[in-house]
């Protein structure tokens, strides 16, 4: 056996004869690399693509409808930002084998641990309400009564995690992520101008009309929807639950990079769908209405696909966000918290998940629930929480006592990350200023 083999299979592989272990013996090194990557693949794609949730669909199509392809460069800029942030989570998760909430609690004390947990649960719960609101909206456009469809969606989301198998949940979720490739087909169907797309993706520019309040809000919303606090908690807990090994770091990084690229491409395609509506002079309040109006020009298939993809985005967002809440709560409370455990062995973990999903679905079914206020609350709270959450991540990644020399940030990592934190803080302050003084920027 080579050193390469020894490095992937822990103590048992150091002997010529392994203790009984499930796996696969291969002769070709490239096949070994491909299979190893596929065993590690999952958390990176899921954390990135689940972030293209219902709120993201709404934000990106709105950006396309208002500014065409002029804001595509922001997505390209956000690609390395999302990757750098989540790559730190990968190292932290693999090195400690524990979730993010547990790390903050153990290394920064009770106040910060509880603050992060309460803030996360609050933002997550409000986000879940928006996910179910999107499911309800899409269902009503498909002539399915929300009072039937929303509870069914909630039950399906609960069944998804109750199998007591991490692998089963991961396979289903990866499949749902890959369904989002349909956004690429929609973008091609609405016949975009490729020259304009390439130009506006690589050349940053301010749309005609200059910096207005609506542009500032939209830019902050795009940043806020592309990088969300729950992602830090979700991916680290997911990696810990999957028990990724030190030797998996490079494959987990690749998983995260591919996930980031996939997500940004899908987000760009959503903007192109919004741009198509703009080109046809369609104005809309939400993506479901856009789908309805766009079908005159693009056909019934595009209408149905957009509505189904809205539901898919909300389902993906709901499972990932609810899991990040359940994992975080389990870590801080010291409860068993793993998708590999059956319900009877981790009741607190599963009950948290079920309560998150069930309560959010129930709120959406209440007539005249203040959904607009909830959406505003999500955007503002997430904007406030994100920079501080990344500061803790940055401090943890410089903790040599915790990570040792091998996994702590290098100097260039720190330079990049502090730049990201400063930009996010500035955006957070602008958001706060706009909340306090709504007439700060000229109206659009």
């Amino acid at each position: 056996m080579t050193d390469e083999v020894l490095s992937i299979s822990t103590a048992g592989a150091a002997q010529a004869t392994l203790p009984p272990v499930r796996g696969r013996v291969v002769r070709k090194k490239w096949l070994y690399s491909v299979l190893t990557f596929l065993t590690v693949f999952g958390p990176g794609l899921i954390v990135m693509e689940a972030d293209n949730d219902a709120g993201a669909v709404s934000t990106y199509v709105q950006a396309g409808a208002q500014y065409g392809t002029r804001l595509l460069w922001i997505l390209l800029l956000l690609l390395p930002v999302t990757y750098f942030i989540q790559e730190m989570v990968v190292r932290l998760g693999i090195a400690t084998g524990k979730g993010h909430a547990a790390m903050i609690y153990q290394r920064f004390g009770r106040w910060w641990g509880m603050f992060s947990l309460v803030d996360l649960q609050l933002v997550n719960f409000l986000t879940l309400v928006t996910e179910f609101a999107a499911i309800s909206l899409a269902l009503s456009h498909m002539n399915i009564a929300p009072r039937v469809g929303v509870p069914l969606a909630a039950v399906a989301l609960i069944v998804m995690v109750l199998s007591g198998s991490y692998r089963r949940w991961e396979r289903v979720t990866v499949f749902l992520c890959l369904l989002d490739l349909a956004w690429v087909a929609i973008a091609l169907k609405v016949r975009p101008s490729f020259g304009e797309i390439v130009h506006n993706t690589i050349v940053p520019g301010i749309p005609r009309g200059g910096v207005t309040a609506s542009l500032m809000f939209l830019v902050i919303a795009i940043v806020g929807t592309t990088i969300a606090p729950w992602q830090l908690f979700f991916q680290q807990s997911c990696i810990a639950d999957k028990r990724l090994r030190f030797s998996d770091v490079k494959w987990a990084r690749l998983d995260t990079l591919l996930g980031a690229v996939f997500t940004i491409i899908v987000a760009g395609c959503m903007m192109l769908a919004g741009n198509a509506a703009r080109m046809h002079g369609i104005s809309f309040f939400d993506p479901a209405q856009m789908a309805n109006d766009l079908h005159v020009f693009s056909g019934e298939a595009v209408r149905s696909a957009i509505l189904l993809l809205m539901i898919n985005a909300a389902v993906l967002g709901t499972t990932a966000i609810s899991l990040s809440s359940a994992w975080a709560y389990g870590e801080v409370k010291g409860w068993p918290h793993s998708l590999e455990m059956p319900f009877r062995k981790a009741p607190g973990f599963y009950v948290t998940y079920v309560v998150c999903v069930g309560l959010a679905a129930a709120i959406v079914l209440i007539p005249r629930a203040p959904l607009q206020l909830i959406i505003l609350g999500v955007q503002v709270l997430a904007g406030i929480m994100l920079p501080s959450a990344i500061i803790f991540l940055q401090l943890l990644l410089n903790d040599k006592e915790l990570l040792g020399e091998q996994y702590v940030n290098k100097r260039w990592n720190n330079r990049v990350n502090w730049t990201i934190i400063i930009v996010l803080f500035i955006l957070s302050l602008i958001l706060a200023a706009q909340v306090a003084a709504p007439n700060l920027f000229p109206g659009s």
Binding site: V5, G42, F108, I384
Partner: protein, 82 residues
């Protein structure tokens, strides 16, 4: 393979020379990780401690501001602000 259902692992006892073993992380022997709970709180310099204190104040202030704004929008103070 594992992710797409194509990878069918079997029980391995012997590994021939010049062959590679692929083991799913969940089937592998658990690794010894760093025990963060044994380390206790992170040692911090005075400037880091002060910065975190300032951050705590900023976050509390922002949360109160958001709460006031949302209540105002909800008409809790007797008028519709916006």
């Amino acid at each position: 393979m594992s992710v797409m259902g194509l990878f069918r692992p079997t029980v391995i006892r012997d590994v021939p020379e010049n062959h590679f073993v692929v083991i799913h992380p969940l089937d592998d022997v658990p690794e010894q990780k760093i025990d963060a709970s044994a380390l206790g709180p992170m040692p911090m310099t005075a400037s880091v401690r002060l910065s975190l204190l300032a951050l705590r104040g900023y976050l509390v202030l922002m949360m109160l501001l958001v709460f006031y704004h949302v209540m105002d929008l909800a008409g809790a103070f007797g008028h519709h602000a916006h």
